[in-house]
Amino acid sequence: MHTLRQLSALIRLSLYDLYRRKDLVIVTILAVVVLVPMSFATPFGIKGASRYLNEISLLLVWLFVLVIAMTRTARIIPTEIDSRTIYPLLAKPASRTVILLGRYAGVLIASLSVLLLFYGLYALINTMKSAFFPWEVFIQALLLHISFVILVTALALLGSLFFNSDANLSVSGILIAGMILYGQQLPVLAAEHSLPIRAILHILYWLAPHCELFDMRTRLIHHWPAIPWLACFCIFLYALAYAAFCFGIATWLFNRKKV
């Protein structure tokens, strides 16, 4: 009960932050600006162009959610330290593990609420526009996007214990973008090199987060069939395990951090 109250207080703090800093208003405006053009059946008078608009809209949704999730997570601990709110926080009878978990859960819930807003609007516009909407693929895309947010926020949280928020955003951003764009190429690249570069590339391939697994945009836009639910569930578990690993290291570091 005691721990639940502590977690609830920490989560509410992040939600107040989201609400009072007008982030929700900005996100809602963005969602409308990004997603409403999809409602045109034949944009620019070209039949079939709506799929391209869908693609651009979903790409922007991915980018906005990624930026919101990462910037919010990356600044949790550095901001607490810079503003000295860390002192009264740590002086309260809450363990550092609970504090970190509560702050992480808070930004995660805030980021996921933004994600749900985008996806809700996407589904609404598409169901209004066309009789057919691929619900199964949509739900899988949403689940995998949620998994992706869980993973990247945990990664940014871990980074925030090594770097300041700007450096953390750069490092995490490069890692995530690099893995989305070139993650699949690492084993191919490794095969072309000899030791020790080959070993380094293989280690990087297995250690870095496989962000490319979570992207279902193409299937959703082009109405391709859903992936097997078992695969979807395994990717979800992979994200949870990776996030738990990052959170575990972050907790270990935070418990030893001098403030």
Binding site: R5, D17, R84, P93, K258
Partner: protein, 239 residues
């Protein structure tokens, strides 16, 4: 008399700088201790160790006989930092609700204690305003309210009088003295020697990380021709 704070031969250094050297000090239940010293004397480092923010390099610290780094020990401790910029997007009620939740208090208890403390710290007129609109003195009052919220047995106040106007200063002094009558133990670090002289049972003066004087105020200023300020200057200027 039971010992609330026990600091036993504690040392702490940052690289080559000895922040605290072989400090031994204790504080008994119901006492008010003025923890004095110039800037960089080691007061804040000692307070941070008392709150379990980090451990000493050597020596032992205990609060109520327990390790201060245990979260349960801090249930009985209230802390007001020297300068805190509380979450600017909250109002005072939300701030106290947040800290109350961290202390594991129920919503009804938080509401009851918050209203009382908001009134007592003179923030009644500003309770709906966001903290980002508060002056420095008002933030200090918010800091006092959050430190007292869970009715702690031990209060650690780091420079509590900083930024307060004369009226607020008198109100805080009265509040501290009232807490003493309720049996609370209070340690405060300060540069305000006149306040320390008026309120404290004992003073401890730090210089370059070392404790150079720890005596009851009555003994320090027993001679009618002297005061704490003069003693403080003498101690600091001594080789």
């Amino acid at each position: 008399m039971s010992s609330v704070i026990t600091i036993d031969h504690v040392s702490k250094s940052y690289g080559t700088c000895n922040a605290v050297s072989d400090l031994t000090l204790s504080l008994h239940a119901g006492e008010i201790l003025g923890f004095l010293g110039a800037n960089g004397a080691g007061k804040t480092t000692t307070i941070k160790m008392l709150l379990g923010f980090f451990s000493p390099d050597s020596g032992q610290i205990s609060l109520f006989g327990h390790n201060p780094s245990d979260a349960s020990t801090r249930q009985r401790v209230g802390f007001m930092p020297e300068t805190a910029y509380y979450y600017p997007y909250l109002n005072i009620r939300e701030l106290l609700s947040f800290y109350g939740g961290l202390c594991g208090m129920s919503s009804s208890l938080i509401r009851q204690r918050s209203e009382d403390l908001i009134a007592r710290t003179g923030l009644d007129h500003a309770k709906k305003r966001l903290l980002k609109t508060y002056s420095k003195g008002m933030l200090q009052r918010a800091g006092i309210a959050q430190a007292l919220l869970h009715d702690p047995d031990l209060l650690i106040l780091d420079e509590p009088f900083t930024g307060l106007d004369p009226l607020a200063r008198i109100q805080l002094r009265d509040l501290i003295l009232e807490l003493k009558t309720k049996g609370k133990t209070i340690l405060f670090s300060s540069h305000e020697l006149s306040e320390a002289e008026l309120m404290c049972d004992r003073v401890a003066i730090m210089k370059n990380g070392k404790l150079v004087l720890a005596k009851p105020v009555k003994e320090v200023v027993c001679d009618g021709n002297t005061n704490l300020e003069r003693i403080f200057l003498n101690v600091l200027q001594a080789p």
